[in-house]
Symmetry: C2
Subunit: 313 residues, 2 copies
């Protein structure tokens, strides 16, 4: 289980761009560079927000917006296609200070689904909205609306065609994965977490993964940690992975690193290919994964950036 | 916090029909009797299944099907209406032996949403399906499909009209609640849990509550307990209430009764009107709630039934 080592007590923001079968063979030098640039830009955007004295929640949103806007990552522009050839995106966000949370599933016209999740949290009486209703809510709240064609990339369209060519339901059991997420800590010690995704290529029947599920893909509590998970969402859901990490810290006294490793180990035991990022209130970071790679990066208070993709980095 | 006292070590099935502002003034003698009959029938149905040697999962499903079919409860036939005047139902089920789980949100034509959740668990590679896709999945799997008019009751339609007459979004902050759920333990010591609901009257924007969210409304693990929650779903989601109960038992060593009380107490602290049912592997039952009433009942191995509605019972 590789883990990026990071200087203790100083990380203020961690981002991920998904865990999965991410190996050097699959990456042209150009794609490798694009992914590293995307992670770096997301870290810088979130860090700038924190430097201005804004909240962890604002930093999480700023970082995720950059990743949603970057075509290489499976969220926002560049999301994968469903079996029916459309793009349906999920996102969630949580404030560790108040445990307020917001989530959307199956949105199709909101340029930045993480903003829609934030709007659900702050500008609705609800936590979780789905489908056409969630799109309508985002429109009513004045969020930026785009034509669904905005999200389309040829690489993702080609992936769907390949999946359809070998179409059988078993293919869904070995899914094409991808998610983006961020966890942050602000100068007041508040934590926040967020996750955004297009889900899995060729997904059917309105499938919802872990990304928009508070307690599965996303969790934040100032008393323990902020978490964003990625990987095979069905396993993350069945283990309430993000909340489980919190509970291990809250009730067993585990450190964020111990709890993160244990959550990944438990998921590995049952065959779940997963990764996560977690940050505690003192800035201790954990970025474990049991897949060949995970797009990931950290930034410290002073702006020191570490970015990695493969498991041997 | 009233709690129904039940004989220890012998309960095999608990059901609930929702927690909320349930007071004697609101119940005609006929409605009171209908609700008690529904709970009793659900307990008998689940108990019969267990007596035949079937699994806790089968018992949970059998009990919830009875409650979905009973018009007084907000699930299946008798579900509440959305703002747009349609019925969109959510359900989830979880197997404590395997931690397999299935859930549907926003289904409109499946006669028994709990059967759809079960089918997602056992006959799809996914855990959570939503909207039209979930309806389509249920149809493809041969589940009983009905015209949406089947779910309509005049009492629920009138409730929507009253809500619309005072329409403002603030009304959603003091919602009309209702859910059904069951937790069971079979002769092999396996636990299972399930929850089903029409959601809240006048809900908008594709709102999803806690009922279909694994870890929030439903959780089961043989090592700890089976849980089904009810009440103001947004609070249950933000506290991952069902998984939190499990985690308190798993990581703090609390009994099911202690953990259940603590979860309800924490939700009360933040203003959440909620209740839950929980059963551990030895048959210890907990049925705490912080609302004026909760439709609830237990049945023991020998078939002894206890049913209650109000907080002072």
């Amino acid at each position: 289980m590789p883990e990026t080592s990071t200087p203790p007590s100083r990380v203020v923001l961690i981002v991920h761009g998904g865990a999965g079968v991410i190996v050097r063979d699959q990456h042209t030098p150009a794609l490798d560079a694009d992914c590293r640039a995307g992670l770096t830009n997301a870290l810088r955007a979130g860090h700038a927000v924190l430097q201005q004295g804004a909240t962890a929640l604002d930093a999480v949103q700023a970082a995720i917006v950059v990743l949603e806007d970057a075509p290489p990552f499976n969220a926002g522009c560049g999301s994968v296609f469903t079996h029916e050839g459309v793009i349906e995106m999920d996102a969630s966000i949580m404030d560790g200070q108040t445990r307020a949370a917001g989530a959307v599933a199956g949105v199709t016209i909101v340029k930045n689904p993480i903003r829609a999740a934030r709007a659900v949290m702050e500008r609705s009486p609800h936590v979780f909205l789905a489908g056409k209703g969630a799109d309508q809510f985002a429109r009513e709240r004045g969020l930026e609306i785009v034509d669904p064609a905005y999200f389309r990339t040829e690489a993702r369209w080609d992936s769907l065609q390949r999946e359809l060519a070998r179409d059988d339901e078993d293919a869904l059991a070995t899914p094409q994965l991808g998610t983006v997420g961020a966890v942050a800590r602000d100068r007041d010690g508040n934590l926040a977490a967020g996750t955004s995704t297009g889900g899995m290529t060729n997904k059917r029947w309105g499938r919802i993964g872990d990304a928009p599920v508070i307690g599965a893909g996303t969790w934040a509590d100032n008393a323990t940690c902020a978490v964003s998970a990625t990987g095979h969402g069905e396993f993350i859901l069945r283990h309430a992975a993000a909340h489980d990490l919190h509970a291990r810290m809250a009730y067993k006294g585990e450190s964020v690193g111990e709890a993160a490793r244990q959550v990944i180990r438990n998921l590995e035991t049952v065959g779940g290919a997963v990764g996560l990022i977690a940050l505690d209130a003192r800035g201790n970071a954990a970025l474990p994964f049991n897949t060949p790679g995970m797009y990931r990066g950290t930034i410290t208070e002073t702006g020191q950036i570490t970015v990695a993709i493969y498991g041997d980095e």
